[in-house]
Subunit: 357 residues, 2 copies
């Protein structure tokens, strides 16, 4: 008999996407940005002194938080830096959810959410997404009826890329009794012509927490750096109580500062991804796939009925050196999630699909 | 009314030691190694490629774990890499302790333990240390009676530096029903002449977890990298279930590998710290302080009766540019914990104490 808690013994862990050791594989499976981080980030790396490594880091990542606050027009007390966005999800659960109390999600959604709930010993209250993958209009009512203390919504939605606008989310936040965490991991890839900006909602609701990450938008998945933006009353216990005292290291802090200060380089990659997203979507549709409009750096392709099964196609693509992602979840069995790569990578994928579909 | 859980609302967070922005302060307050990390670590930093930052890191830190396993004569399945030793403490609590179930400690001890217990909603069962700061002989019996699922012992003890030997700890592990986490954050500074090595205990007990960190021994406090060594049955749920999927970043993994591979440089710093520890201990005793023998990179100095109060003395030292640590805990009110610095830093501290005591 093991020493772990019964819920831990029972559960299955999260399965991260494959990270092959060789670099000649085309990785369209984990939503990395296909373009490198800013040269300013590399300069910051070169400038790390032995003395900075020897000492403990500044525990609250104050310089980064000040910079992020300026970038987003909020106060530093509304920012918390985390060791990758996943850490904010865990910290929010630890802080706002009694062990055993339910956690709310839309189904399908980011597959880590139910894993974190299981670790916490919490049941998941899931509401099916609408046909367009948006949260249903009565989401908050469902959550309140189940006494959900924290609801996790990813927007743009994963794995579909569907974007829900401010009006609907504002109604949802107002109606929700618990905390609403809006996971904006992919928000950098939203078309700027849409004028999408949810942060002004912070002035209207006291139960809102946004998750941001440098993993995708800033090409820094290897660095593990994200941050939360939220009402000060929600950020304070995360910052001062439940966070590991030195959760973000000195290298990550310095590189994150450099990345955010040089946003233009990142923004250029976002536009290139958007251009390719439009092209890949069109091509996939031409091949008979059903592809929801995506505002993210991936698309969800539902395969045509006569094609090989999604899981089988994924393995065929893998033998040809292209990785994509499949989720054995309701509504996703027949779909592949495909990260937008460089034009050449996307060409390779589309060429293979033309052959295999 | 806030959204945080009642136990979170009630609790006070952990207070990390001061991290001054200026580097002319003599920092003898947070147990950093006074010598820089190995040049091999700096070379590894220079060699980080943009591509490594762009991609997700290898999720299980496999190369580091293989190297650590070789170093310690265990298997890679007995190693888990963590974002600083504190993360292992949190993960052990999450994995092995039902929320609300008690966590066992010796008092006084590392002041983070009760904070982590509070976050978990768990009461702390604390047993007073013996006069020499060792766990009492009947520690396991106390823990079993209280149904403790996880006991946290730091050895060498903090903040005294007292070392408990294998015979006593082996008896304790055998008698304990729950998991025993032995926090060896400072073990690198133990005098090698003592032949101290607890790892063979892993072959005799199935409830043992050791915490190691590169923060002190390898001069990498800024990097946040630690690891657990334990029975495979305890490491497996930490690795596969409760750990954040990408908890250690690509830079930390590369630098940690370089540090462990170049152990000789670190070992040289350990010997220099030991030499100075002996000298500082002798000098403090000459000044009338009571100083337990320390096998760590700090000493605990109980001030002579006629001296200024410890807290007052700490502030006086601070105005003169030397930081030390004080804990407002039972048995520690009249003591200062002083990290062993370079000979020049120690001279400066001792000179000030000669003046102020």
């Amino acid at each position: 008999m093991g020493h772990e808690r019964p819920n831990i013994a029972r559960m299955h862990g999260y399965t991260p996407g494959k990270q092959p050791a060789t670099s000649d594989t085309i990785k369209l499976n984990t939503n990395e940005n296909p373009y490198p981080p800013s040269p300013a980030v590399m300069r910051a790396l070169q400038n790390i002194a032995p003395e900075a490594l020897r000492r403990y880091p500044e525990p609250s990542a104050e310089r980064f938080r000040t910079l992020a606050a300026q970038t987003h027009g909020v106060s530093p007390e509304q920012i918390v830096a985390v060791n990758g966005g996943d850490e904010l999800l865990r910290m929010a659960i630890t802080t706002f959810v009694e062990p055993g109390a339910p956690i709310g999600v839309v189904e399908p959604s980011y597959s880590l959410y139910p894993v974190l709930a299981e670790i916490h010993g919490s049941p998941v209250v899931s509401v099916p997404a609408r046909a367009d993958f948006c949260a249903p209009e009565d989401f908050a009512e469902h959550m309140n009826a189940a006494k959900v203390q924290l609801a996790l919504l990813v927007n743009p939605h994963a794995p579909s890329g569907h974007l829900t606008g401010r009006a609907q989310l504002s109604k949802l936040a107002a109606a929700l009794d618990g905390v609403l965490l809006i996971d904006e991991a992919y928000v950098d890839f939203v078309d700027p012509a849409l004028g999408h900006d949810l942060l002004p909602m912070l002035r209207e609701h006291d139960n809102l927490l946004f998750l941001r990450t440098l993993s995708k938008g800033y090409s820094l998945a290897g660095l593990r750096f994200g941050y939360g933006i939220g009402c000060q009353s929600l950020i304070a216990p995360l910052m001062g109580k439940t966070r590991d005292s030195y959760n973000v290291d000195v290298v990550a802090q310095a590189l994150a500062e450099a990345a955010l200060a040089d946003r233009a380089v990142a923004a250029d990659s976002w536009q290139r991804v958007r251009d390719e997203r439009a092209r890949v979507t069109t091509e996939l549709r031409t091949l008979g796939c059903r592809v929801p409009d995506s505002q993210s750096n991936f698309v969800l392709a539902e395969l045509p009925a006569k094609s090989p099964k999604a899981r089988e196609l994924l393995l065929l693509l893998e033998t040809r050196g292209v990785l994509v992602r499949h989720f054995a979840q309701e509504r996703l069995h027949d779909s592949l999630r495909i990260t937008i790569g460089t034009p050449a990578q996307n060409d390779r994928l589309l060429g293979l699909l033309r052959e295999l579909l």
